[in-house]
Symmetry: C2
Subunit: 121 residues, 2 copies
Amino acid sequence: MNYQAINFKNKLGLFDEHWSPKVVAEMNDYQFKVVKIQGEFVWHDHADTDETFIVLAGSLRIDFKDGFVNLSEGEMYVVPKGIEHKPYAEHEAKVLLIEPRGVVNTGDEIGGKTAENDVWI
Amino acid sequence: MNYQAINFKNKLGLFDEHWSPKVVAEMNDYQFKVVKIQGEFVWHDHADTDETFIVLAGSLRIDFKDGFVNLSEGEMYVVPKGIEHKPYAEHEAKVLLIEPRGVVNTGDEIGGKTAENDVWI
């Protein structure tokens, strides 16, 4: 058993690229992923699962087809399953994502923003 | 659909008591709970699930039968299912817990520290 805390700043210091989630922990069949985001993502949804965003630094906006939510450091939001959404960050934001193992970041919208989930645990 | 961010500081400002988790969000069948802790909890385990601690402010220690982990703000730890543990905080710490709906904070060790999970969503 590993008695080592997971430090978000340390993990975030290990990479620079945007939209490339790194799995830093698992809880049952869920994964915790740190990610840096900047600019505009693609519209997508996750048909089978909710998706949690916790903002570790900076701020971002999640657009929906009929509105948006602004999120800053110390705030979270759960995007319900099946709801189309598009994250956007004017400046770099650092985010903790929580979702079931195997979720693809772009849902079915496979393309340039689709990333492997590098597993760092 | 609710486009309101969940702000941890705002939620934590709504109560003073220790060891009394407040459910502030749900993701699938999991719950996010903010809790203030100070002093010593009871030894317990959760036979069927891992349990996630994310430190929002302050620091705490989780004791295990053969060791411990120290956690500070911006750090997380996942206690594996079935592992006996006892949280401890010398000074008040503010924590985000993530675990499946219905988990009792003290596991099977029902007693003075057992708390209802007030649902605030």
